[in-house]
Symmetry: C2
Subunit: 146 residues, 2 copies
Amino acid sequence: MTDFHLDPRLASDCIILGETDFSLLLLMNNSLAPWFILVPKRNETEIFELPKEDQLALLEEINLLSGFLRTVMKVEKLNVAAIGNIVRQLHVHVVGRSSTDFRWPDVVWGAQEKTPYSIAEVRSILAALEGYLPEGILLKRWPEGR
Amino acid sequence: MTDFHLDPRLASDCIILGETDFSLLLLMNNSLAPWFILVPKRNETEIFELPKEDQLALLEEINLLSGFLRTVMKVEKLNVAAIGNIVRQLHVHVVGRSSTDFRWPDVVWGAQEKTPYSIAEVRSILAALEGYLPEGILLKRWPEGR
């Protein structure tokens, strides 16, 4: 994919865990809730503008992260959203929510509270994710660039 | 579909515009932003738990509403989300956003401001939607039950 550059706001707020053929996988650097962001390596800004095959690739990755959050991280509820009012680059939030978390039952978008991850915490999440995902799907990029 | 009943909170907040084979189509009764809600006639509470064919049916309906909001209603941005922290029945928000709207750039979920639609406004939106959607997809239900 040419001409793809991660939006600077996403790069600043998130940890780049890795990438798939289709997208970058980010972790919002806020340990108050497990919060992944998929950034398709595409230039469209809305899901419905993507070609059908790209929509299906995105759906598959959302499904994988959803399964990980529910079965491994044991979250109570998933919040899945494409918003993009501030950052226009297409990105999809897949957030694991629990009734004891920092914003429940409100949505996490717009919240100011933030507790960055420790390196050990990121390593642990990434290891669990690598163990869950089908082999070969995720090309790990963390801690590149730290 | 047996054993499907619309959640009372959704029924109270929204206008039932109609239904497809797969879902109910609601309009949030708040004219401050064009805000559709798809409620699959299913019992799962997360998208990833739906069988693949149901996921594809949902994606297709999201695409249709997205196209309507962008090409007919000329919104600047789409906000598409499955949240469900309060109402657990699976429902997907497809909201048309504009930089002049009541909450921009914040998300609409949790907002208290509300201006209910007039009957003429609902009639107009429904007519425009029926004109946009492929024939036979939407079984109109409004103003049934008013």
